[in-house]
């Protein structure tokens, strides 16, 4: 086990995969000479050369589409968005082309591509730079969506995403790139997509949370423990395909569920989990499924507003207690 930063774990995954398969290349804004806007690709230009670590103009629609074409033709692109807020410029390429070409071609063409980059909020960036996209992209059948919360998962999942034969939206976080954690140094460390991780066991209430919210949920679980409630924390890791079985097994044990998600609440990841759980487990539930999400508005700039806007540990504690009919 080596202790790596989140960004280093991502880089290790890309480097290992690029050494294994020369059809893999990395393309995006500032990925090469600048070493990545957030230094994820630091040193990769030196290692692989400008033919495989490729700087682009600010042309998201263009280079995302170029990636789709290259993938259809047999390469395995890793496309970096400087942040996923900018992927909206390339929306058509992601949702019409990447997601649907396997289906529309009757299986003749695959699109083995990874779109990766930071997702969601990173402080006072205001409305256009604060969008969490997991709910949005997981809406589209044909796309897979991965959102790891620690360096170990980041490495194992990114390697799997790169090897996957379908398009994967791989979500990182600006504020988590410096996060350190132990990372397996197993020779070929692959974590399968679509498998949740039980991060903390508990019998009283289930908290489902990914990425930054996952850390808030752990904080909340600690606080709940002080009050005598044991929360089970499940990190779904993959948003689509969703490991609903793992969530259901936990809810059968705790009979209470709180879903935490940085997305806006309407038609979102959290509403999907709530819906699936009530469909399957209505009789097992002792309380309504509750959600803690970003507020149902665009993101504000002011410090006090954005802090309140995002899911906070205290909001999760409050929701859990409500589900527990406590206090």
């Amino acid at each position: 086990m080596a202790v790596l930063q989140f960004r280093e774990a991502l880089r290790a995954a890309m480097v290992e995969e690029m050494e294994r398969d020369e059809n893999i290349f990395l393309i995006g804004e500032e990925v090469a000479e600048y070493n990545g806007a957030y230094k994820v690709s630091e040193g990769m230009l030196d290692r692989f050369g400008a033919g495989r670590v490729i700087d682009t103009p600010i042309s998201e629609s263009g280079f995302a589409g170029l990636g789709v074409g290259a993938a259809m033709a047999g390469l395995r692109p890793v496309v970096e968005f400087m942040t996923f807020n900018f992927s909206f410029v390339a929306f058509d390429q992601l949702v019409n082309n990447a997601a649907k070409i396997r289906y529309m071609s009757g299986g003749q063409y695959a699109v083995p591509i990874v779109f990766r980059g930071p997702n969601g909020a990173a402080g006072q960036l205001a409305a256009t730079h604060n969008t969490a996209v997991e709910s949005l992209y997981s809406y589209f059948p044909g796309l897979k969506v991965v959102a790891p919360s620690n360096p170990d998962d980041a490495k194992g999942l990114l390697k799997s995403a790169i090897r996957d034969d379908d398009p994967v939206i791989f979500l990182e976080s600006e504020s988590m790139y410096g996060l350190k954690g132990e990372v397996s140094d197993a020779a070929d460390y692959l974590i399968p997509l679509g498998k949740a991780r039980i991060a903390r066991e508990g019998a009283d209430v289930t908290l489902v949370a990914h990425q930054k919210s996952y850390w808030r949920a752990l904080e909340a679980a600690d606080r709940l423990a002080e009050d005598g409630y044991e929360a089970e924390v499940i990190d779904p890791r993959t948003i689509r395909p969703l490991d609903i079985d793992a969530i259901a097994a936990s809810v059968r044990k705790t009979n209470r569920l709180v879903v935490v998600d940085e997305s806006n609440p309407f038609a979102s990841f959290s509403s999907e989990v709530a819906c699936q759980v009530q469909e399957r487990l209505f009789d097992w539930l002792d309380a309504p499924v509750l959600r803690v999400t970003a507020k149902d508005t665009p993101a504000p700039y002011a410090k006090n507003l954005i802090e309140y806007y995002m899911p906070r540990a205290e909001d999760i504690v409050a929701a859990a207690k409500k589900a527990l009919y406590a206090r």
Partner: protein, 384 residues
């Protein structure tokens, strides 16, 4: 190979001429006259630095002094903002315009503020102030306070000022270019005689929105001036690394529009160029104006700007537009050193006062999160 550094080919043909300004008698990228090396014909006008006097442009001494004050206010405001960022009074991204002030001021004096419109990207403090936004509302917006132009909800990248027809600061590269075409469309539709000045960086030229908007504007003959503020870099990417054809004014050819190249280091060049292009726009003739300028600071506060040399930066600072105008005012005896020192002192005080104003302005109430989402304010879901 796609990722390899692109051609450095379009360097100045006549080294000796390419100095002293944002541009020289030739374009920086090597077009000595109206015929490109490849023989493609192109008609464009140049507005080099040092070519105009204020009298020739019909400006009074008062105008020239006011332009000086207008530029210096932007400079001092941003210097102070940078300091406040260091003190964590300001959060998020802060992109400074320092070095580019002649572009905003030159155009603010060429347009009819209130009748004409303007829209720009996220590097928007300079244009906001040039158009007449107050230091108080600008600084308070950075502080995220209710005294800010958007009540603290937009921050640095999203200044807006409706009374000035300032349609914003926009954070997504390129998106607002089409919006600018739309504002111009509305001027024409309403027949109000106004034009829209649409500003964006060299980096935005890589976006589909740029090319789509050019064609739409030309097709519908909208009264729009597309101002490309070419400061040679988009974040860490020098223009020649991102563009197969980095002489941006030449794109106008493809859309049947007139275009020109102006030095952004001389306010009179910008003023003259903008005046000419605004006149074309008033006749529903959209155009591209490429202004060669330079940003002294990093892309944002976190960028150490290692992609350029100290020498390059110093050489560009030598052509500073504020220093240039100061020299001009002194040389022509339009102002004395004491006069200009007094202006500086007054501006510094104005900016300090804006800091005090921002400190004292309250943070928005939490309930403001739910305000301004829709026109209808009493939807039951607009609450915790």
């Amino acid at each position: 190979m796609a990722g390899e550094t692109r051609k450095q080919a379009r360097q100045p043909v006549a080294e000796g001429k390419a100095q002293g300004n944002g541009i020289s008698a030739v374009s920086q990228n090597g077009h000595a006259d109206a015929t490109a090396e490849d023989g493609a014909s192109e008609a464009f006008v140049e507005y080099p630095a040092g070519a105009y006097t204020h009298e020739e442009l019909g400006l009074s001494g008062d105008d020239a002094r006011a332009m000086y004050r207008n530029m210096l206010l932007q400079r001092r405001f941003e210097e102070r903002a940078a300091q406040m960022y260091g003190k964590q009074k300001i959060g998020g991204f802060l992109h400074l315009y320092i070095g580019q002030e002649a572009v905003s001021t030159g155009s603010a004096y060429a347009m009819e503020i209130g009748k004409d419109s303007a829209i720009t990207a996220y590097r928007d403090h300079g244009l906001g102030l040039a158009l007449g936004m107050t230091s108080n509302e600008c600084m308070a917006e950075l502080f995220g306070k209710v005294g800010g132009s958007s009540r603290g909800k937009g921050g640095s990248m999203h200044y807006f000022k409706k009374e000035l027809n300032f349609y914003g600061g926009h954070g997504i590269v390129g998106g607002h270019i089409a919006v600018g075409a739309g504002i111009a469309f509305a001027h024409k539709y309403k027949g109000d005689g106004g034009v829209c000045l649409t500003y964006f960086g060299d980096g935005a030229v890589g976006q589909g929105s740029f090319h789509e908007a050019m064609n739409l504007a030309a097709l519908y003959e909208t009264p729009c001036v597309f101002v490309i503020e070419n400061n040679e870099y988009a974040m860490g990417t020098a223009t020649h690394r991102a563009f197969a054809q980095p002489d941006f004014y030449r794109y106008a050819d493809s859309y049947g529009m007139p275009s020109a190249l102006a030095s952004g280091m001389d306010i009179f060049s910008v003023y003259k160029a903008m005046s000419d292009h605004i006149a074309m726009a008033r006749n529903n003739r959209p155009s591209i104006l490429e202004v060669r300028t330079y940003r002294y600071r990093g892309h944002s506060m976190s960028d150490p700007a290692n992609y350029r040399t100290r020498e390059e930066l110093d050489a560009r600072k030598e052509q500073d537009p504020i220093v240039r105008l100061k020299g001009y005012l002194l040389e022509r005896e339009l102002a004395s050193n004491e006069d200009l020192d007094a202006v500086d002192a007054e501006i510094k005080q104005e900016v300090m006062d804006s800091v005090t104003f921002s400190e004292e302005s309250p943070a928005p109430a939490i309930s403001e999160i739910y305000e301004q989402v829709y026109a209808q304010t009493d939807y039951p879901f607009l609450t915790d």
